[in-house]
Symmetry: C2
């Protein structure tokens, strides 16, 4: 590393006043020059949303003494885009960190995660990026056991860089009386959310729904993020930006997809269907 301190952009999806981002800012100040651009309100569940249909606001705030910090009306991905192109005037940070999220982002949750959308957005821009999440949904959780692992992972990312087209998804077990074990490099567990909907009536008699769900993990592999967390380890999954499933391309070639199948009705029945539409 050069004598000049690395430039580190910090963001999150719980909003700029959350305890998780304050913890992360304090840790990153030990590693470099920190700039904060984060949402002005919670953005959980926003996936990789960006704001294209409405204008964005960006305001300097005085929440972090001595630091350049901005709150943004947009999503975590918007924050990274605005940070790079406006706040940093197209200077690339050396590292983007997002979090610490108040809640798990393991397994399939990576797809719904605002925390990881910021990291993935930075990776698209070619910047080393890490999302940090604590498996504890409390407003005021204890992050103290994560400090050493955050410094190690961010330190390694600054020293080695992160391979192109990859962002790290890091999840920590919640604090217990047991000591935190090592950092493990994992794959994403093949688990999912089983949704539940709570149907209610508003004061005007109209229905509305609250969505909730329970996490279902039938993946018994010992190389997953979920397994590592069950062993009180920190789980690091390297996430790629290319969603192509290369394994099944050749299988699909054998479908002869340019030929019609039996599933498509005859032209006569299609005409009938059209007239009845």
């Amino acid at each position: 590393m050069s004598e000049q301190k690395p430039l580190i952009l910090v963001t999150n999806d719980d909003g700029i006043t959350a305890k998780g981002i304050r913890t992360l800012v304090e840790l990153m100040q030990q590693l470099g020059e920190v700039v904060v651009v984060a949402p002005n309100s919670p953005q959980s569940g926003m996936g990789h949303a960006i704001t294209i249909a409405s204008p964005l606001r960006l305001n300097k705030v005085d929440l972090f003494p001595g630091l350049s910090a901005y709150e943004c009306s947009g999503t975590p991905a918007d924050c990274v885009k605005l940070a790079k192109h406006f706040v940093l005037k197209d200077r690339n940070p050396d590292l983007v960190v997002s979090g610490i999220n108040h809640g798990s982002n393991t397994s399939i949750s990576v797809l719904y995660s605002g925390t990881m959308s910021a990291a993935i957005e930075a990776a698209i821009e070619g910047i080393p990026a890490i999302g940090f999440s604590l498996c504890d949904y409390a407003h005021d959780p204890d992050f103290s056991h994560t400090h050493d692992h955050i410094l190690k992972i961010a330190g390694h990312a600054l020293e080695h860089g992160i391979p192109k087209g990859v962002a790290f998804n890091v999840n920590f077990p919640s604090k217990t009386d047991l000591p935190l074990q090592e950092i493990r490099i994992c794959r994403q567990a093949d688990a999912r959310w089983q949704e539940e909907f709570d149907q209610r009536k508003d004061p005007y008699g109209r229905s509305y729904f609250w969505m909730s769900g329970k996490f279902v993990n039938d993946d018994t592999g010992q190389d997953t993020d979920e397994f590592a967390l069950s062993q009180n380890c920190t789980a690091l999954v390297p996430c790629q930006l290319d969603l192509t499933d290369y394994k099944i391309i050749s299988e699909l070639q054998s479908w002869n997809i340019n030929e019609r199948t039996a599933a498509i009705p005859s032209p006569e029945s299609v005409e009938t269907a059209k007239r009845s539409f």
Copy 2:
């Protein structure tokens, strides 16, 4: 296929009144029994957002004569969840189709795409799913050249199923005087959006930003979705739900990430940093 008609769920992200979903509904009626659950307003750029912090509304609408159709206050992913668990009473559709989107969802845009988030949500539930997009952002584009390819792709998906953990991302070139060529199975091009921000003042003198951008494709491969479209072909990319980058796991093991690096300052300088915070 059995005598019973397959059950097909249709959704989109441009909203239930868009021309694209009307076209898709009409085509799917040729293949099976159609149920429509789609957003009540445009959701473009929503990525894989889900609505957890506010309640959802779902209303039956009479937009498609003879069909069961609902508009939903949520995102495309919400629509799939509500459709399965509430409208269909946990009966799985045989196929979920999303679109036809008014605009491209090729390459890295798959991550920002509401159209594809609906298809990916269905794939998480184990349902064969396809997102269809036309590379034309007009409000009233000509979809007529896409009909035959949509029927073929959906017909093959009904006949063969789609491998577990995969959703199809299908993009069509916009209509020109040249005939549409064949369907090609492709990989996601390694391209990205280069953002631009237009800074303006509101009537009260405060700044706001419009985000726009231009698409930059330096990927010269002839097996990409972008290349297929440039040849006036339909591009089909099989997208996986597992973001793990398996290739780099062994590289990361060699980092010895549980050891400290030179990038982490000594305990003394950390103490100084803490006091100055």
